[in-house]
Each structure stands twice: as structure tokens, then as C-alpha cells.
């Protein structure tokens, strides 16, 4: 239930306001959809087929099939639903074949198959071909099974003119197209844990001229990602780690949007001249084995390539690297970023990095801090690094007086339940102290259960608001799953 609102008004044009809201519950009884109040009316069965297909498309086929026994009206609903979602770890091959035999829709919009390849290579080929022969538009195959490495997709998989979205999570299966690849309708391609040689990757990219979005998550073997011959490609997402090395070079002159989680191994952004939006973070094992010019070569150089990006998101470990760079006196590039989002826990080892970023973003108008639970490097490792560069760690982490860009107009903070209230409060104070043109700060607390912490925050916000002439809105929400795209 919603709490009584606490609306404080100050003199002049400043206000600190607090609201709480609870969103609609998922309980159909509360929504008045079913139960005694309906006088026994079966509204679900009266829904048109198209709506029922939509509903059944969102659950596994195994559950959808059961609806055929509900009543005569429901008998053929599942088999005419143009969507199949099969998880074969829980279902035997024979019953999958039976399901496909009963399927009667002429076309498939979405086909999802998750299975182990061990002992099953024969039927998997036929299941993929079933999807293709039904002109599947969305094909999603998950084979996360490191035991099988010599599976080859059938040729029909590679010469498919109807698929628009393809997702393959292959668990170290090597993708080697033996024929020419022809995915003439493909717009979205997502490959995870695939082994792809440079040659295979080139074949694949040449075969999808309409490709708009590419995800390469923990794929290995290829060393150069050259997207210059993919003129429609606007979005690239890539995950690397120490075990899945990925490319050392990215050439992507047409992309507008880049999401890169990269490892400590070097990766040069050779050409990202059309980039307007970027999201960057780093995965780490330990700092002990960093090359001497790591900060300059990996971190700062990468930031320099993103100089013209308007919308930039940066993760916690990257911020920690920026902190080290700042403390070691490495020169930062000037950024043209207008909207900056920080996805991080609020710990003191990210503060120098954030400070330096803000100082070098003279055009920044909007700052968003999104506190998420994330892995960060412990201060012990960071201090070792500082010591090896003859820096006194105690002096380094002490907060210093800085001046932030005078252009910031709004600051939004999305505070999840992994934030300590006093750290949040002092971070807010830091931001408010040093921004001169700030008009409004919005703080959204999600699942924030600490009542006394909340009261503290409220009191502090009211004082700050009065002192700084900034409108501060603190909103508390009890929604369980808040999407990550706060800004």
C-alpha cells in the first residue's frame, strides 16, 4: 500500500518532495479478473485465437500443450500457435518428435530450442530443419554443452532466407559454414560462446547484408572484427574475458551504438567514427599481471576513441581503472558527452575516476547514477598497484575539492537495495556541493527497506535543497524488477 506522502515546502522556489508508490500487483484476484465477482464467466476462453496465441507464445510449449485438455475450445489452440519453445533437458527426444508431428500452424514466428547435443546430433538437425521449413522468423538455439565440439550445422541452416533474428549459444561448438552463407533477411545476430575463425566470420558477415545488430558474447578465435562491409549495422555488443579472448581490433565505421565489456587484453577501436552511444566496462581476474602501460593503452586510449559519443555509460571496474589513471597522473581526453550514466556501487575507489570524468566533460547536461550490485576490484589490489607506482594510498583516496562542469542540469540516481544509505547520502552531497547550474535531482529508491536510512536521506535532502536551491525529488518504489534502462 502507498505511504502517506511527506511534502515539505521551503521558501522561495525550492522544494524537496517525497513520494511513495506501489505498482499494480500481479494477483488476478486484486485486478478483478476472476473469482466470485465474475459470476462464473469464463473470459479467457472467450478471448480471440490471436490473443490466446500471444499468451501461449510466452510460455514453454510443454505448458502450452496441456491447455488442449481444458475444454473443446482449447483443443487446437496450442498447435496453431506459431511459436515453439522446447527445453530438451527436461523432455525426451520421442516426445519432442511427437509434439512437432502434432503441430499444425503453417508458419513459425519464433522457434526456441535448448538442448544438449550429446547423443542427439541426428534429431537436432531435423528439429532445426523443421523450424526452417516453417519459415521461422526468429530462431534461437542454445547448446551450452562443452562436451560436444564437432557438431556442424546443416547446410540449410546457413542458406535461410526467412530468418530475421538468430541466436546461437553454442557451448564451444565450432561454427564453420561449409557452403556460402545466405541470410538475406537477417537483421539481428547473436552468437555466444562460439568458436569462429576470421574466415568463418567473414563468410557470415558477407551473407547478411541487412544486418542491423550484432552480438558476439564470449566468442573466440577471430582476431579482427571488420564491419566496414556491413553498411546497415548500427549496433554492436561484445563481451570478452580472459578465457574468451576475442578480437584485438575492431573496425566499425557505421555503428552508432557500442556495448563493450572487455578484458585486460588489448583491443584497439580502429574506426568507430559514427558512434553516438557507448556502454563500457571491464572484466578482471586480478591486477597483478597488468602490463605497465595498461592504463594508458587499454583504458585511456579507449576513452579517447569515444570522445565524440553523446551518450556514455560506464561500469564500476572501468571507473576504478579511471581512478587509478587519475591518481597516477595519466592525462584524460576531453569528452563531448552530454549524457553520462554510471552503473556502479558507491564505493570510495570509484570517486577519483568519476571526478576526473566529470571534470573532462565540459558539455555534460545530464548525469545518471545507477547503483547496481556488481563485481569490483578490492581496494587491497588497487593499493598494491598504487604502491608499485610509489603513490601513498591513504592520501590518494581522501576526497579533494573539485569543480564540476557548470552545465549539468539534472542528476538522477537509481538506488537499489545494495547501497548503504550513508554512502548514498554523502555522494549526493558531494555532487550537490560542486555543481553550479543544477536545477533538479531525482532519486529513485528501489526496494529500499532501511527505514531509518530513508528518513536520514529525506532530512538531508531537505536541508541540501534549501541550501542549494535545487529541486530534489525522492521517490520510493516497491517494484521488484526495475529495468536497467533508467535513463
Amino acid at each position: 500500500m502507498a505511504m502517506a506522502e511527506n511534502y515539505r515546502q521551503q521558501e522561495g522556489a525550492t522544494t524537496a518532495a517525497v513520494e511513495t508508490s506501489s505498482h499494480l500487483s500481479d494477483n488476478p484476484h486484486q485486478n478483478g479478473m476472476i473469482g466470485d465477482s465474475n459470476d462464473g464467466f469464463d473470459f479467457v476462453s472467450s478471448l480471440p485465437d490471436a490473443i490466446l496465441h500471444l499468451i501461449l507464445s510466452s510460455i514453454p510449449t510443454k505448458s502450452a500443450i496441456r491447455t488442449s485438455v481444458l475444454s473443446k475450445r482449447w483443443r487446437h489452440v496450442w498447435c496453431e500457435t506459431p511459436s515453439l519453445s522446447i527445453d530438451s533437458h527436461r523432455v525426451v527426444t520421442r516426445s519432442i518428435n511427437k509434439t512437432l508431428a502434432s503441430f499444425s500452424a503453417p508458419k513459425i514466428t519464433s522457434f526456441h530450442l535448448r538442448t544438449s547435443l550429446v547423443n542427439r546430433i541426428q534429431p537436432v538437425d531435423s528439429w532445426i530443419e523443421f523450424a526452417i521449413s516453417h519459415d521461422a522468423e526468429k530462431l534461437s538455439l542454445e547448446f551450452r554443452d562443452p562436451r560436444v565440439r564437432d557438431y556442424n550445422f546443416p547446410d540449410s541452416f546457413y542458406t535461410n532466407s526467412t530468418v530475421k533474428q538468430l541466436l546461437v549459444d553454442s557451448g564451444s561448438v565450432v561454427m564453420i559454414p561449409r557452403c556460402t552463407v545466405s541470410w538475406t533477411s537477417l537483421k539481428n545476430l547473436s552468437l555466444s560462446y562460439c568458436k569462429l575463425s576470421d574466415e568463418s566470420l567473414l563468410k557470415i558477415l558477407s551473407g547478411c547484408p541487412l544486418l542491423e545488430s550484432l552480438e558476439l558474447l564470449f566468442c573466440d578465435e577471430f582476431r579482427c572484427l571488420d564491419l566496414s562491409q556491413s553498411p546497415c549495422l548500427r549496433r554492436l555488443e561484445m563481451d570478452r574475458s580472459d578465457w574468451f579472448l576475442g578480437p584485438t581490433e575492431i573496425v566499425a565505421p557505421h555503428i552508432h551504438c557500442l556495448r563493450l565489456r572487455h578484458s585486460r587484453l588489448p583491443c584497439r577501436l580502429v574506426d568507430v567514427s559514427s558512434l553516438t552511444e557507448a556502454n563500457l566496462n571491464i572484466y578482471f581476474c586480478d591486477l597483478g599481471t597488468l602490463t605497465p602501460d595498461f592504463l594508458q593503452g587499454n583504458v585511456i586510449k579507449m576513452l579517447a576513441k569515444l570522445q565524440n559519443v553523446e551518450k556514455l555509460t560506464v561500469g564500476a571496474t572501468f571507473l576504478q581503472m579511471l581512478s587509478l589513471a587519475a591518481l597516477c597522473g595519466v592525462r584524460f581526453p576531453t569528452l563531448k558527452v552530454e549524457s553520462l550514466t554510471l552503473e556502479t556501487m558507491i564505493v570510495r575507489s570509484v570517486i577519483p575516476g568519476i571526478t576526473k570524468l566529470l571534470q573532462n566533460s565540459p558539455g555534460l547536461r545530464k548525469l545518471t547514477i545507477h547503483t547496481v550490485k556488481c563485481s569490483i576490484i578490492s581496494e587491497v589490489h588497487l593499493n598494491n598497484y598504487l604502491r608499485s607506482h610509489s603513490l601513498n594510498q591513504r592520501q590518494c583516496w581522501r576526497s579533494k575539492d573539485m569543480l564540476f562542469p557548470g552545465s549539468i542540469e539534472t542528476i538522477s540516481m537509481l538506488v537499489g537495495k545494495y547501497a548503504e544509505s550513508n554512502l548514498v547520502a554523502s555522494f549526493m552531497e558531494l555532487l550537490l556541493r560542486y555543481t553550479t547550474s543544477l536545477e533538479a535531482m531525482v532519486v529513485l529508491l528501489v526496494g529500499y527497506l532501511d527505514a531509518s536510512g530513508f528518513e536520514e536521506l529525506l532530512a538531508m535532502a531537505a536541508t541540501l535543497s534549501h541550501k542549494t536551491n535545487v529541486f530534489i525529488l525522492i521517490k520510493q518504489s516497491h517494484v521488484k524488477n526495475v529495468s536497467n534502462t533508467f535513463s
Partner: protein, 103 residues
């Protein structure tokens, strides 16, 4: 009246048109709509136009999921998590199979 817009008026006389669903994201506005709205207009005596605009911008990004989508998701959830008998009871589905045809 299915008027779906609300007008917010700031302390310096600026007015902002806002869809009802968006404005009602704010508890403050909801209460004021219930208490004291003159026609469709809600006065904010302590808030300037510029600041009000920023607040509305924020509210726009957090509109509640509309009724239809919620219904579909709820029905799907029930079908996925309940037994056949429970589904029948929940939605008042009458089993019109004769015993011979039942699977």
C-alpha cells in the same frame, strides 16, 4: 468524459500539457486532481516552470504497464504454473469433453 490530458500550471504562469496516465505517476498530482482541480488545471504555487518540466520528463519514463499487457502476462503465468484443474477453477473454464474423448 474521456479527457486524457491534464494541465499543470507553475508558479511563474507557465502551463504544461500532460497525459493523465503520466501525471498520475505522481502521488502529489493524483491528490491534487482529487482535491482542487479547476477544470483540468492544477496549480503549483511553489514550483517554477523549468523545474516542473524536468519532473514531468522524469514521470514520462515511468508510466505503468497498460492493462492489456498485464492481462496477457498474468494469464500466461497462471497457465504455466498451475495444474489443469486449478486453471479450470481460476478461469471458470467448463470441461465439455465427454469421458471418451478426454486425453
Amino acid at each position: 468524459m474521456s479527457e486524457k490530458k491534464i494541465v499543470l500550471k507553475s508558479s511563474d504562469g507557465k502551463t504544461i500539457d500532460v497525459a493523465k496516465a503520466v501525471a498520475l505517476q505522481s502521488q502529489t498530482i493524483t491528490h491534487m486532481v482529487e482535491d482542487s482541480c479547476v477544470g483540468n488545471e492544477i496549480p503549483f504555487e511553489n514550483v517554477t516552470g523549468q523545474v516542473l518540466a524536468k519532473v514531468i520528463e522524469y514521470c514520462k519514463k515511468h508510466v505503468v504497464v497498460d492493462g492489456e499487457t498485464l492481462t496477457c502476462k498474468t494469464v500466461a503465468h497462471v497457465i504455466h504454473t498451475r495444474t489443469i484443474d486449478e486453471i479450470r477453477t481460476f478461469f471458470n473454464v467448463e470441461n465439455d469433453y465427454t469421458p471418451r474423448k478426454k486425453q
